[in-house]
Amino acid sequence: MSLLTPDSVPTVVTTGASTRRASQAVTPRFKLGDRVVARNLNPIGHTRLPRYVRGKHGVIHHDHGLFVFPDTSAHGEGDKPQHVYSVRFESRELWGAIADPRASLYIDLWEDYLERA
C-alpha cells in the first residue's frame, strides 16, 4: 500500500478521487420526467438509500451519469457502475399532509434503488 507522504498531500487534496466512471457507456433505464418509486430495500450492509425515501414516489429530475455502486464496492464486491439520478420528491409525499406544500426534496439515487412507478 502506498504511504501518504507530506509532499504528496497537496496533489492528493486537489486531485481527489471521483467515483464517476465517464469512460463506460451504459444505457440509462430512466429518462428525465419518468415517474419512479424508491425500492423498499433494507440491506444489512452499506447503502446510500436513506430510509425516508424508501417506497416513496418521485420524478427523475437529472441524470448525473455513471458512478460506482457503493452497496457493492463497500463490500469489495465490484464497482457495478450505474446511472445516478437526481430524483425529486414532494415534501407531502415524504411527510404527509402536514408537510409544506411548496417544498420538495432532491436526492441522488443509484439506478438499482429505483423502479418504474
Binding site: 507530506p6 486531485t15 481527489g16 478521487a17 471521483s18 446510500r48 436513506p50 448525473h64 417544498a103 432532491y106
Partner: protein, 204 residues
C-alpha cells in the same frame, strides 16, 4: 498527590482517533507528518473564502455564471479549486422565487474545495433530520423567514455529487468590486441556510 497533578483522561472520540493513528502509523500505512500537512491545509488554506470567490465571480460575470450552472466542476476549477469532496460539483442558483438548501442526511457530505470542512451543526442529527422534514421551520430558526410563496428545494447530498448554493446578490452592491463582494458572501449562504446581507450602511 493531589488530583490536579493528573491529566484528565481524553474523551472517547479523541482517544479513539489517537489509537487509530497509532495503529496506522505502526503498520506503516500513514505518516504523521502527512496528517499534520492535511490538517494545516484545511485549517488555513481551504475554506469558504474559496466558495465566496466563485459566487462573487458569478455575480459580476454572466458568462462565468452560465458556465458554473452548466458544469460547476469545470467552472470552479477555473478559479483553482478542485479535489477531495469536490470531484463532481453542481451549482444551485437561489432566486426571489426559489430557495435551495443543502443537507447530507446520511452523514456530513460537504463540498470541501469550496467550503472547507463542515460546521458542527451541519453534522448534527437535528439539522440532518429536520432540514428534509421541515425546511421552512429550520430556515426560520437560522433567522431566515421566507414568504410562504417562495418554493424551497432541499438537496440531500448523500451520494457523490456535492452542491454549492449561489445566493442572490443583495441590492445596494451594484457598485462594489468583485473583491468587496467576496467579503460579503458567507458560508451559511452557500449552504443555503441564510441570505447574503447587504453591506452595512456607513454612518456619518
Amino acid at each position: 498527590m493531589s488530583a490536579e497533578h493528573h491529566t484528565a483522561p481524553e474523551t472517547g472520540p479523541a482517544l479513539r482517533v489517537k489509537a487509530l493513528e497509532a495503529v496506522l502509523r505502526e503498520k506503516g500505512l500513514v505518516d504523521s507528518r502527512a496528517i499534520d500537512v492535511l490538517v494545516e491545509t484545511y485549517e488555513t488554506k481551504i475554506g469558504p473564502k474559496n466558495g465566496a470567490k466563485v459566487v462573487a465571480r458569478a455575480w459580476v460575470d454572466p458568462a462565468y455564471k452560465a458556465r458554473l450552472l452548466e458544469d460547476a466542476t469545470a467552472a470552479i476549477a477555473e478559479l483553482g479549486f478542485s479535489g477531495v469532496q469536490g470531484e463532481d460539483m453542481v451549482a444551485l442558483e437561489n432566486t426571489p422565487d426559489t430557495h435551495n438548501m443543502v443537507v447530507c442526511t446520511l452523514c456530513s457530505c460537504y463540498p470541501w474545495p469550496t467550503l472547507g470542512l463542515p460546521p458542527v451543526w451541519y453534522k448534527s442529527a437535528p439539522y440532518r433530520a429536520r432540514a428534509v422534514s421541515d425546511p421552512r421551520g429550520v430556515l426560520r430558526e437560522f433567522g431566515l423567514d421566507l414568504p410562504d410563496q417562495v418554493e424551497i428545494r432541499v438537496w440531500d447530498t448523500s451520494a457523490e455529487v456535492r452542491y454549492l448554493v449561489i445566493p442572490e446578490r443583495p441590492s445596494g452592491t451594484e457598485h462594489m468590486s468583485e473583491d468587496e463582494l467576496v467579503a460579503l458572501v458567507t458560508r451559511d449562504a452557500m449552504i443555503g441556510v441564510a441570505k447574503v446581507q447587504p453591506p452595512a450602511r456607513k454612518t456619518r
